[in-house]
Amino acid sequence: MALLDKFAALAAQYGKLETAGANPFNVAFDEVLSPVEARIGGRSILLLGTNNYLGLTYDPAVIDAAVQATQHLGTGTTGSRIANGSYAGHRKLEQALADFYGRRHAMVFSTGYQANLGILSALAGKTDYLILDADSHASIYDGSHLGSAQIIRFRHNDPDDLDKRLGRLAGTPGDKIVVVEGIYSMLGDSAPLRDFAQVKRAHGAYLLVDEAHSLGVLGETGRGLTEAAGVEVDADFIVGTFSKSLGGVGGFCVSDMPGFDILRVVSRPYMFTASLPPSIIAAATEALHQIRLRPQLRHQLIHNAERFYAGLSALGFELGPEPSPVVSSIMPDPQTAFAFWSNLLEAGLYTNVSLPPATPRSLALLRSSVSAAHSTAQIDLALDIFATVGRQMGLIPAARRAAQA
């Protein structure tokens, strides 16, 4: 038996997608023209699946900051944060993040994935408990497994279930750290954070909120769901990423926890990887500045998200529970999701396919993400393509009765 034979079943499925010439997991854009437009071969594609929520990837000020940094500081740091890869820019970005969140401490990681790995593995020791929402992102599960704490799941977005599980641990030695997300990346639903905060307080647990998809999206100043729900004081740790609303790559954690900086010499995903290049750091710093400077980006994003969600809903698609920049249509099965995705792309619209076990309740999803950079005309064009292809495939009612609703 060959080494990779254990993946035979998966390889067969993957091969089928390749043969069909439409593999959602292996698309390459030949040219990207803007936050919302690209070219594949000779065809123009409208992008509706990039997580580029505020469209900052082509912001002139952000690009200029990245160019300047490369010219003055070079292409890479060639070192890790604790050895030889900390520049003034890394410190400056950490200060900017701490200032943005009104927190004492901030740590920058090389990706959002590593931020969860680095924080969760370091925070919880052998006798501690990590209490995870069942629908947590893979980085939360992986970060929990990287450490030595006990890991317990509670039912997704269910404060009563969290209460029950923390109750079972009453009297058990060790700290309890509850982990939830601001916006869940698969269905776009957000956590009932006020209720979670209450449960957390009642049991004397700590709370970590991953705002990867909600930074720059929710809250009066874009700080995320904790700000929107008015429970920032209860969130002991906030983790986030630069790779969505900030249009770059990298991750961070902010906190008021006394002694937080010791994690810099404890957290292995922080210590044993190269630090972010100067261009990325400068771009993230400028993008954060742009979020603070231009709340209208967030308002436009929410407007676009609500328009698209309402439009798909009126067409008869079954969606996640609430409008958000992540809008997922629930498909009957993975084959239909692949076919729909492929037909949408053929019609000039790029979206995503999300499948179990990455999705909750074994759902097959046709996932879209909306950007502030989409014009109203582009949102309406996307809706038209969904309507045409969806009707052709019999996924939604053929009648036009709902089209103008």
Partner: protein
């Protein structure tokens, strides 16, 4: 609530039978992933149902050690304090 050795065995097997779409003969040696076709998340979700029924919490590292239904029953009994 069922908490004797036999009762826990019956509870786990009964809950699983109710969940499976087609009837499969279940024994202590049945391999949960290979024979029942449950993926990693489906296994965790099934364990969550057991947790609710028996009022226990099963840490994920304990689930990771489980391969067969017999392993699962033994783990649940240990956490319930029933040997």
């Amino acid at each position: 609530m069922n908490t004797s050795v036999t009762d826990i065995h019956e509870t786990v097997f009964g809950m699983l039978r109710a969940k499976l779409e087609k009837p499969i003969a279940l024994t202590d040696d049945t391999h949960i992933v290979n024979e029942l076709g449950l993926d990693s998340v489906a296994v965790m979700d099934f364990v969550m149902e057991i947790e609710d029924r028996l009022d226990i919490s099963v840490p994920l590292d304990r689930i990771a050690e489980v391969e067969t239904l017999g392993d699962l029953v033994a783990t649940v009994r240990a956490l319930k304090g029933v040997q």
